[in-house]
Symmetry: C2
Subunit: 281 residues, 2 copies
């Protein structure tokens, strides 16, 4: 018997994970967190950016896996198994991917049958150098992805971005134009830019495009060199925060109701109000 | 003797005005507020959206002026005189403009010589109908402007938007592309959308485009049918709030330092990180 479940209303789980330098421990931790989210009713689970590996160049290459060789990829296998055994959709945060001698910061999306449905490679690498505040150059370690990722799942059409991808309104607008109803951004904003902009960016992307935005971050690790902001959040299509967390290890479970999108777009038809003729002048 | 003043650092004044149903009183109030801002050192003064006229269809036509007939426009005359006598630039908020039998929601920009430098007619009219929350249809009263407004002043290149114009990231991106260093949005967000999004929109437009955003609102009028949010604000190019107000009648005076723009764009070169090739796919 196939049960068709109406996916207009469902629960999302955001697994704000504590990341260690032991990959196996990270896998176990993630697997347990996914289970906890499912037990709270989540049918879509999102993991953080770089959750199987410390956010440090000392680990990226060592922890990287080649997803083409699924059997040799414990991360791929765990996510596939978790999605299948729970019958849920997983946006697998991001992990270092090794492919053709390059490293990518990559998010894999799995369906309830355990199959890989999409793979997003972080498009906008985080290169920043603000004297006295923060310096980081992700392009020293990673190659950039070169395509947007939209995936049809049993909980609707999802756009994927990773962390710094959220700073580019063009990507969110593209996902909205292509019919995404939620954009998932696994991210690992640091304390500096996180406190300033993490919430603003999420809410602006959601409000401008009148869709849901879900973010998932690692929890803060006071021992690491890169202090994570945390605050995994679900934002609704009016730009309202539906659920969020602090910086500790947390599973955020919240309800998504897609009818809010139609309501908001009908009441305030931003798309019809746009003046493409003017923006091109 | 002509003194060339370096305009990289200067003070801006945001006149959060109390608006009454007496136009003359509004003009006097605005004139006094401009003077107060200048006495605090402001060289650029921004007025609110619809500051000479209550935000109500009962008043728009009655209070409207035809700027083509400058001598018969007390609002035009006052702004011109104030700019000239103080030797400052004024972004004159917005007032109802009557032109060719139509009404527009229009902002006039005056230079230190008292001359009109630019005129922005609100492009995106605020039509909203959220049951149980807010219903408003600005297009019932006003015709829409049909062009963006960028103006070179002695305090730099300024882009102008009015209130709902801030909800459209495309307009801000256009202004950034054309070299604006500050976008001024006179606005009159109401309590409902104001509390939710006024700050988010300002900070997102500033952070995404790495420029200054200045907003100016009327103060809250508990007696009116349209309750104003207030909170006139200056945001810097990292998305940080430099100065803001509550909802009462206020003059916000704050310093703008354009070197912050270069610092932010150099440290985090969002423009170079953009992937136009991908957004068009």
């Amino acid at each position: 018997i196939v049960v068709a479940i109406y996916c207009g209303q469902f629960k999302i789980g955001l697994c704000q994970l504590s990341v260690t330098s032991e990959k196996n421990q990270n896998l176990v931790c993630a697997r347990n967190s996914i289970k906890a989210a499912v037990e709270c009713g989540a049918r879509l689970v999102v993991l953080p950016e770089m959750w199987n590996c410390p956010y440090s160049n000392d680990y990226f290459a060592k922890f990287a896996e080649d997803f083409e060789n699924e059997d040799a990829s414990p991360t791929f296998s765990m996510l596939s198994e978790a999605a299948c055994s729970h019958g849920i959709t997983i946006v697998g945060g991001s992990v270092p991917e090794s492919s053709d001698g390059r490293l990518y910061n990559t998010s894999c999306v799995f369906g309830p049958d355990g199959k890989l449905k999409a793979k997003h490679r972080k498009i906008h690498l985080f290169d920043i150098e603000i004297p006295g505040d923060i310096t980081f150059k992700e392009s020293d370690f990673f190659a950039a992805g070169d395509k947007p990722t939209i995936v049809d799942t049993d909980v609707g059409r999802i756009g994927i971005g990773i962390c710094h991808d959220i700073r580019f309104p063009e990507l969110a607008a593209l996902y909205r134009a292509k019919g995404a109803r939620i954009i998932c951004y696994p991210g690992a904003f640091n304390i500096s830019t996180g406190e300033l902009l993490w919430e603003v960016m999420q809410r602006a992307r959601a409000a401008d495009n009148q869709l849901f935005v879900a973010t998932c971050s690692p929890s803060r690790d006071s021992s690491g060199s890169y202090a994570i902001w945390g605050h995994s959040t679900l934002v609704g299509p009016s730009g309202e925060i539906i659920a969020t967390s602090g910086h500790e290890e947390t599973v955020v479970v919240a309800e998504i109701d897609y009818s809010k999108i139609e309501l908001q777009r009908k009441g305030l038809p931003l798309d019809k109000q746009k003046r493409a003729d003017i923006y091109l002048s």
